[in-house]
């Protein structure tokens, strides 16, 4: 008995998944537990496994397709089984279009006999060969095998209007057909239908004449403003563009193609969550300049004895975790009627990945020694870059650190990562002249900026947290005295 596998819900916030890779092909045998596909969710790339053995009968979603939750991605069953019933409406939408083209044959025939029209009364040879219709894409029973909008549009429109139907034919074709059947006298009605058809899509709209004029004169239509309906570029626009154009001898700047990139699942989530955060949470920002001289020397000493290399970031994570224990308001979440003060300290670290940003979470960061923080951070960052993070490795943060110091950024402000109450933006450690005991001496400074949600954290509270943080980093040994070292 064939069964379909639907897009599974692989994370709490997932609404659709993109098939990244199929590990099987149609006709392949699969066993229960086989990993048949990889799916990109809003969080990570996850594996989809087969729960029952069988043969892959039909791969419904191709690589790169975005499939909503519950959408069929593949059908598995016994070889030779009829699966039409399982596929249902989605797969058959092309066929319905074909069925309406009973008159399609004659529609195509018109084009074939076209040249005879001018021939006239005595020219008996005018007709005849039309039945063959529109070449190999046209099947007399199924209709246009391309099944699509293009070539078939006029034929379908005719069929629809002849039958007096105003629906049943999809989209713009239906509109055109209805206008044709009903109208004619109404110039306005015709124009309206045209406008509707033209309204979709971002292509440059230009009359055929404007196109050929632009081609002849070397004018890029993309640079011309259209004055016609829906911005259609017409003759007059090309003529005025011509008048305003620079002399043709001037070297034209190279025109490079503009590209529309499909928004990845990850980017959709970044866009949604960060917009929500920035536009909902009342952010405010406080910056402190921290003397990193002791942190630098302490780190050098630690690295002489430590198995794993301790980074400044690890020390900042540690310092934050320690400071958060002392300032629980910063380690909390706004829930509307209540403020949740988190007992645990789970610190998310923003990691840049090729097409976005991930925030793996170091759980119980306050209870882990520096060496473990270092190891975990490295592991999680690696998984993030490979898009192998599992949902539980990305969920449950209570605070976030975003460090752009390695890019030489002096200071910046970050958007709070919901449901956190604050995020720390870490800048680069700079060699700067500092005044010590009345003397200008070389010093090391690092600016950090805390973005706080004012609904939870007030200015003074944020300042207290930053003060503790600064103290810990300026005197790193304090961290080793703190609880949980």
């Amino acid at each position: 008995m064939a069964h379909k596998i639907e897009m599974p819900k692989l994370s709490d916030t997932m609404e659709e998944g993109v098939i990244v890779k199929w590990n099987v092909q149609e006709g392949d045998r699969v066993e229960a537990g086989d990993i048949i596909a990889e799916v990109e969710t809003d969080k990570a790339t996850m594996e989809v496994e087969a729960f029952d053995p069988g043969t892959v009968l039909k791969i419904v979603a191709k690589e790169g397709d975005a499939v909503p939750l519950g959408g069929i991605i593949v059908v598995i069953g016994e070889e030779g089984e009829n699966i039409d019933g399982l596929l249902g409406d989605g797969a058959d939408s092309g066929g319905a279009g074909g069925a309406s083209t009973g008159s399609g044959g004659s529609g195509n025939a018109v084009d074939v006999t076209g040249p005879g029209v001018g021939g006239g009364g005595t020219d008996v040879a005018g007709g005849g060969t039309g039945v063959a219709g529109g070449a190999e894409e046209f099947d007399p029973i199924l209709g246009d095998l391309q099944g699509g909008a293009g070539a078939q549009a006029s034929t379908r429109g005719t069929a629809a209007s002849a039958a007096g139907a105003t629906n049943g034919v999809s989209g713009a074709t239906g509109v055109g057909g209805a206008a044709m059947g009903g109208g004619g006298n109404g110039v306005a009605a015709t124009a309206g239908a045209l406008a509707t058809a033209a309204a979709s899509g971002a292509r440059v709209k230009a009359s055929p004449l404007a196109r050929s004029m632009a081609r002849e004169r070397g004018i890029d239509l993309a640079t011309v403003r259209g004055s016609g309906p829906d911005g259609r570029i017409v003759k007059a626009d090309i003529e005025s563009a011509r008048a305003g154009a620079p002399a043709p001898q001037v070297a034209q700047p190279v025109q490079r193609a503009t590209e529309d990139i499909r928004v990845s699942q990850m980017r959709k989530v970044i866009a949604k969550r960060l917009s929500e955060s920035k536009f909902t949470n009342p952010h405010f920002y406080e910056t402190v300049d921290i003397d990193m001289e002791h942190a630098t020397s302490t780190r050098a000493q630690l690295n002489e004895i430590s198995d794993v290399k301790i980074s400044f970031n690890d020390m900042i994570v540690k310092a934050c975790a320690t400071a958060l224990r002392k300032h629980p308001y910063v380690n909390s979440s706004w829930l509307g009627d209540t403020i949740r003060m988190h007992g645990d300290v789970h610190i998310a670290v923003a990691v840049a990945v090729p097409d976005g940003l991930m925030t793996p979470v170091i759980r119980h960061a306050d209870q882990k020694p520096l060496s473990q923080l270092s190891k975990e951070t490295r592991e999680l960052a690696g998984l993030a870059r490979d898009k192998r993070l599992q949902p539980d490795q990305m969920e449950g943060s209570t605070f976030t650190i975003s460090n752009l110091g390695m890019f030489g950024i002096e200071e910046f402000t970050a958007i709070i990562n919901p449901p956190n109450a604050a995020i720390l933006a870490v800048g680069a450690i700079r060699d700067v002249p500092v005044v010590k005991n009345g003397q200008v001496v070389p010093g090391k400074r690092m600016k950090v900026t805390l973005s706080s949600d004012h609904r939870i954290v007030d200015g003074a509270k944020a300042a207290e947290f930053l003060s503790t943080l600064r103290n810990l980093l300026q005197n790193p040994l304090l961290m080793f005295l703190s609880e949980g070292v």
């Binding site: 001018g118 009364g121 005595t122 020219d123 008996v124 006298n185 109404g186 110039v187 055929p208």
Partner: protein, 327 residues
């Protein structure tokens, strides 16, 4: 040049051809003793006698068939229908016999018959007396369809029609029979079938119209000229074979076209002209071709509804404004 009514111009053409060729004869309801329902055949009975000017019973299919048979046997009949609305009864003879005889018999005979009479609406005559049949007959291979708009064209073309070796439908208008116009008095004045005339020159938009619609467009052109829009009016005169060359030359100059047709929209002359323009002059078009036609509704009798139904100059102006991107 003589000034003649439209009916007199047709009569002059018929008279000249009857005098020139004794095989030419005319028959139809009231063509002889009554001098024609619209007096197109006035005086012919007196001049040519009952043998060549024949009153028929009210039996369109019958006398159309006699005409087709006579033509196949070497005569050159002119069959007058009191209106083409009544010729629907004779459609079998026209469509199934006249148009196909030469083709089905491998060219062994021809059928040089002229069917003529008023076509299309003549005001409040109701749904069954107001139909434009030109595009319907033009649909069939083997038929020539002529629809002149002015007396001079009517005279030159009726003579060509009578001399044609194949069946011709010659369409007139009840409302134009009294229209006067200058008619060439050149001896044996012939206008060839299948040639359009540029009735008005202009650079801004091509308007194609035949028959009564030519006069609607002329009215609209005067209005449009006041706003600086110059209409080039093309009257194909022969609907089939259609002189697309003249139309395309004009469209390539003006880049815009409106087709005005006193017929319903579906599959009419306007549809055909529009199709051919987009195929042959696509890169010259600055706007989609527009058409002004009757709606897809039968003729109403009520005066108010009739005025809404019938294509008028205002609709032509609107269509021209649409293709020239004005107002």
């Amino acid at each position: 040049m003589a000034t003649l009514q439209f009916r007199e111009a047709i009569l002059a053409g018929i008279d000249e051809e009857m005098a020139r060729d004794e095989r030419v004869f005319i028959m139809g309801e009231e063509v002889a003793e009554y001098n024609g329902a619209y007096k197109v055949t006035e005086g012919l009975l007196e001049k040519y006698g009952f043998k060549r000017v024949i009153d028929t019973p009210i039996s369109e299919l019958g006398f159309a068939g006699i005409g087709v048979g006579a033509a196949m046997n070497g005569l050159r009949p002119i069959v007058e229908f009191m209106t083409f609305n009544f010729a629907v009864l004779a459609a079998d003879q026209i469509i199934n016999h006249a148009s196909k005889a030469r083709y089905m018999l491998g060219g062994q005979l021809s059928c040089p018959v002229v069917f003529r009479g008023p076509n299309a609406s003549a005001g409040q005559l109701g749904a069954t007396h107001s139909v434009a049949y030109d595009s319907m007959y033009a649909h069939f291979p083997g038929l020539t369809v002529i629809y002149p708009s002015e007396p001079d064209d009517a005279k030159g073309l009726i003579k060509s029609a009578i001399r044609s070796e194949d069946p011709v439908l010659f369409m007139e208008s009840e409302q134009m029979y009294g229209m006067k116009g200058e008619v060439s008095d050149a001896e044996d004045y012939i206008i060839p079938i299948g040639k359009a005339k540029v009735k008005r020159q202009g650079d801004d938009v091509t308007v194609v119209a035949t028959g009564k619609m030519v006069h609607v467009v002329k009215q609209a052109a005067v209005e449009l000229a006041k706003n600086g829009v110059e209409v080039e009016l093309i009257d194909p005169m022969t609907i089939k074979p259609l002189d697309m060359e003249t139309i395309l030359t004009s469209v390539k100059k003006t880049n815009r076209c409106v087709v005005v047709d006193e017929a319903h929209p579906f599959g009419g002359v306007a549809a055909e002209v529009g199709f051919l323009i987009q195929r042959e002059a696509f890169d010259y078009l600055d706007a989609p071709v527009q058409r002004v036609t009757l709606p897809d509704v039968n003729a109403p009798f009520s005066k108010k509804l009739f005025d809404l139904w019938f294509p008028d100059a205002k609709q032509v102006v609107e269509a021209v404004n649409a293709v020239t991107y004005r107002g």
